[in-house]
């Protein structure tokens, strides 16, 4: 009997206080598109992997850059393009999430895509991040080809985002359940205007026992006696990539603050940046349009007052929490490389546990 998977909110479990955007997804930030290429097959190698593309500016990011800021919570991972973002606060390419072993190939493919579309100069330092899917995916089969990267970029769309075992998240494991891609958004009302904050995560981190939802110790309640452990050996290289988008007019230094707040959302679910985790966070803000080079100075819309940041901080925390949960509740049980099986979190049980811990 196939699992009927669902987003956390449709299970009646609401995280946080703020309203969501219409799609409850990073695509609620105007101009942000998401596309996936998902590779699931068993020959000639066991592929359980893929590519997820987050494309700002409806694709015109090379000509109409956004401000961005990076935060490293734990460094056992790779995100390319970060030296330029740290240096200038400019995001000039799409953001790609994929698997560890092929991040280099994917990075070169993004450069080539930019070259084909924009001639010289576009996407020169693209942002590509990875988490490790080697338990379910036969990594050394190198299933991802550059066409898969192009396809994810070409297929990127606004609107609802497919979650769970798709794109870069296909083969991921989270809190010892099946993980993957998740997304969420929040609407923020400040004295300086109304803004949207969206998150998209690729979840591959965490211990079962530390998983909490709204403070309820779900992971302890759904132990390995109930849902089997995915690993027959010590787990490795678990990580989470978190991308934050907002339409607020933030400067680079403010984007960095937003990226750092992803740490707080992650902590509330039960992620503490364990040693072998690559917990790398990037936030970008579409409220200013940066086009180089120009004669004269670059016009900016302005800057959100720092006092108005609190709402965006809270929104980031909530959107990150819900994104991780969406990855968990939409991902399906998967069997892959060498017959390894990773089980999805059972939704009925999850609802029961939550109810037991909340007073009437």
């Amino acid at each position: 009997m196939p699992q009927q998977r669902a987003r956390i909110r449709s299970l009646g479990i609401v995280v946080g206080e703020l309203p969501t955007g219409p799609f409850n997804a990073i695509t609620d930030v105007a101009g942000v598109l998401v596309g996936h290429t998902t590779l699931i097959y068993d020959q000639p190698c066991v592929a359980r992997t893929g590519v997820t593309a987050i494309v700002p500016r409806n694709g015109a990011i090379a000509d109409d850059c956004v401000f961005a800021g990076f935060h490293r919570f734990n460094g056992f991972g790779e995100m390319t393009g970060i030296q330029w973002i740290d240096e200038t606060g400019l995001l000039t390419s799409p953001i790609i999430l994929t698997t560890t072993n092929q991040i280099g190939m994917v990075r070169d493919a993004v450069t080539e895509y930019g070259f084909l579309r924009y001639q010289y100069g576009a996407y020169y330092l693209p942002v590509v991040a990875e988490t490790y899917d080697g338990w379910l995916n036969e990594m050394h089969g190198h299933p991802i080809q550059k066409e898969h990267v192009f396809q994810a970029l070409d297929s990127a769309r606004s609107g609802p985002v497919t979650e769970g075992c798709v794109g870069g998240g296909t083969g991921m494991i989270c809190h010892d359940f099946k993980g993957g891609i998740g997304t969420s958004s929040r609407l923020v009302s400040t004295d300086s205007g109304n803004y949207t904050v969206g998150a998209l995560v690729q979840t591959n981190y965490g211990d079962r026992k530390q998983l909490q939802i709204n403070g309820v110790p779900v992971g302890r309640e759904i132990g390995f006696d109930i849902v089997p452990h995915p690993w027959q050996e010590p787990p490795r290289s678990s990580s989470i990539i978190i991308i934050i988008a907002t339409d607020a007019p933030l400067l680079p230094v403010q984007c960095k603050r937003l990226a750092q707040r992803a740490t707080s959302g992650l902590a509330r679910i039960g992620g503490f940046g364990h040693n072998s985790s690559g917990d790398l966070f990037l936030a970008f803000a579409t409220g200013n349009h940066i086009t180089e080079p120009v004669h004269g100075i670059i016009h900016l819309e302005g800057m959100l007052p720092n006092d108005a940041m609190d709402g965006l901080f809270d929104a980031t925390v909530e959107a990150v929490e819900e994104s991780i949960l969406n990855a968990l509740t939409t991902a399906e049980t998967m069997t892959g490389y060498q017959g390894h099986t990773v089980y999805a979190i059972p939704l009925d049980l999850l609802q029961q546990v939550i109810k037991r811990y909340r007073p009437v």
Copy 2:
């Protein structure tokens, strides 16, 4: 009727999984001493302030340095001595927590204390941190004198630590309840040895509604209708200083990782680094002894393998959580400058709320 205050654990509320040290305090890390000078009087100015000293190496820190690492979660605050710690990873002075307006005087006093005790060179770049107590304390009366700093340093002791409205925490406010100083510790067993992690916090941050204990929304349940709001105007400059100590043989880069994990403990209680908060964290490790200058190279005990850091990370999260809660549950209602009153969190109500949220 006087309040009977208590530590959170003595209320039957246990945070986390790991065992505590004998004092459940930062002083469980061998050689770490704590001393307070508390100033509470109404003439000639309304003083609700003080100085808390954390003294490693039983006071011999100038000759027998420890490794340390700093992390900034939010920067609306001051911690002196950080350039040197960022540069070399060496803590060469005691750590002092105090009030915002007098941090400079306190900093100079620590230098003078070092000079009097050790002649030239000791405590040349001392670590002094602040949070703002101007709602209860008449800051511009400048009640703290250098003798108060000396006294806190001289009185530093091992063993149980007085918490709540003492030392630097005297006039602080936390989640719109009375805050102050809190401490806690954890014992960690790793494949590379058994270690202690201790935390001490000066809590002056947070919104009522975001306060959670073990995932229970305590702040929302004990609203302003039940316990009045401390502020008659918008609150300002709320901050938290977190100091982490361990006896593990960590390198500076590892101390920095530990300091960063304080973010996760803070998030689980409900602190997200709001804009006007100075959330500055420092971790130090006594497992290596660094004495400069010497001929030849400095002998080191060694380095904890990074794979063994996870236990220390989890311990940091738990110890930070419990330290904040101890500050809240030991602090007493206080009336100060201009008649402002800040109310302590009511312990009986707290216990009731927690019970309601836990399944039988």
Copy 3:
């Protein structure tokens, strides 16, 4: 016979290619004022110290903030207020340069000054930096009082800046010659407009043998047999503070890049960030006006395209070089604490050396 001191350029020695501003000083950046309080007396303690104030916005910096960025080249020193600048990129106070032992008192005095002028909130996290003058100044006599800080702030003016043994630079030593305060400026023409870059330095670093001027090894040529060594014991705590100002519309992340370029100017004179040196650099840009809090977003003039930064980088290198040299050539031989004498670099000899190394 009194020394006739002079700025380096008036000796016929030109550093770099770019033209200077009218004052060849940091005050060429519109709205930037400089004031000194200089304390030179022998009773009751031997004072050779002081305070230098750099005041942006003609003093209105608390209400009309500037963007700023910090860079640490070496960390054996203190600069307060940096956590806030790193966090938000906002400079909200004047910048004060002074002596090591009293930096705390000076810091508190700036806060008090702000309070007296602006009531609550102004100058809450002021920037105060120090270098060590204990060879000539009786530091533990604590000669600086808060009135001296107020006086430096009140006396800050546009126009020519007094250099050498004045203000915070009074007792400083540079490349084993007498050092002090120096300043310089450059005019930069870019495709995005014409801008001024100014530098002001407090020089207290360096070995004689590493001093170079336009690549000429002046320090080796004017050895200790010609001009005596100032130290009878190993020198200590030598440092350089470098402040960069520009009227270009830079964002915080761009200010940080400018601050980092001070490293290159320093290197060309012969400063390599030795271990006991506090080489702390701050750059600020007046081209945008930031006023918080406001309803709505903060209007910005715009942002200099990154491609136009190269001119500002080169200007920074040149202005830092010339500022250091001006400190050296304007400072006079001084005798101070315990009869220590530090000799000024002899200008005639300097000119001869430079000439010998240049082709006819």
Copy 4:
């Protein structure tokens, strides 16, 4: 008539004061090997590119890690593996220098090489850096294959290092002359022992007019009327990668300090981190051996006292200067893609200019 190229020192031009190691190369640091794969052909694409491998521990770096530290002077470039080095201070792979467009492929190839040699886990986050050779090399022909990476790794040897137009430096341009790979070393005697510091650079940065050697304005003296400009259009993406090695027992935080001092050496030659430059520096220290995981703690040899760092700082400055010059004086005039020609700096003229500027 073929050019007779030579290292700078063999031209009678000595940079700095410290003695060199026996090879005057990064290979003077025991266990450090260097290998190149150089691709120069015209069909099917015009290849002027390659791969340079720097291999610590005689190849056993995956099992016997070294401490390392990273510094970014300017961020318009890519160096993979840096998040892990920033996080833990551990270098666990060889270091590869190559071209911009293929850095991803090269990165994946290093991982695969590690997998083939060491099975799972080795080289999981390899360090690969790039500079742009698209003026001479037909980048989009993708001439580098993974076998070329393997070959550079397999061929890495101790002893003299081939310099100039080899390996990753094959197609590079420096100060508008032909650039490439250069290396140098220094011997340092400290109170804490005698150590070697070696540098290896891939030079692709700089303006002609800013080139200086020992303070002599060589670039202005050898103008475009004498040696033609390589570019028929504005130059792009010029960068320098600097790798520093030492056998001193440095901690990660000390390696970072060493890496930062490369800035000073670069400044003295005339590199100021222009906007489109990826100036990324990495230093590693072989004096401690780090093997994970282990039971118990990791034994360390110790730590160099910070007071002994000054000698290493000076050595770094000198070795970086001489490495850049060696790249310039060993590189030969090259014609490549689309007939572009980049001219080598003429050595006879160089010697004449230097002599004119130095007194007898």
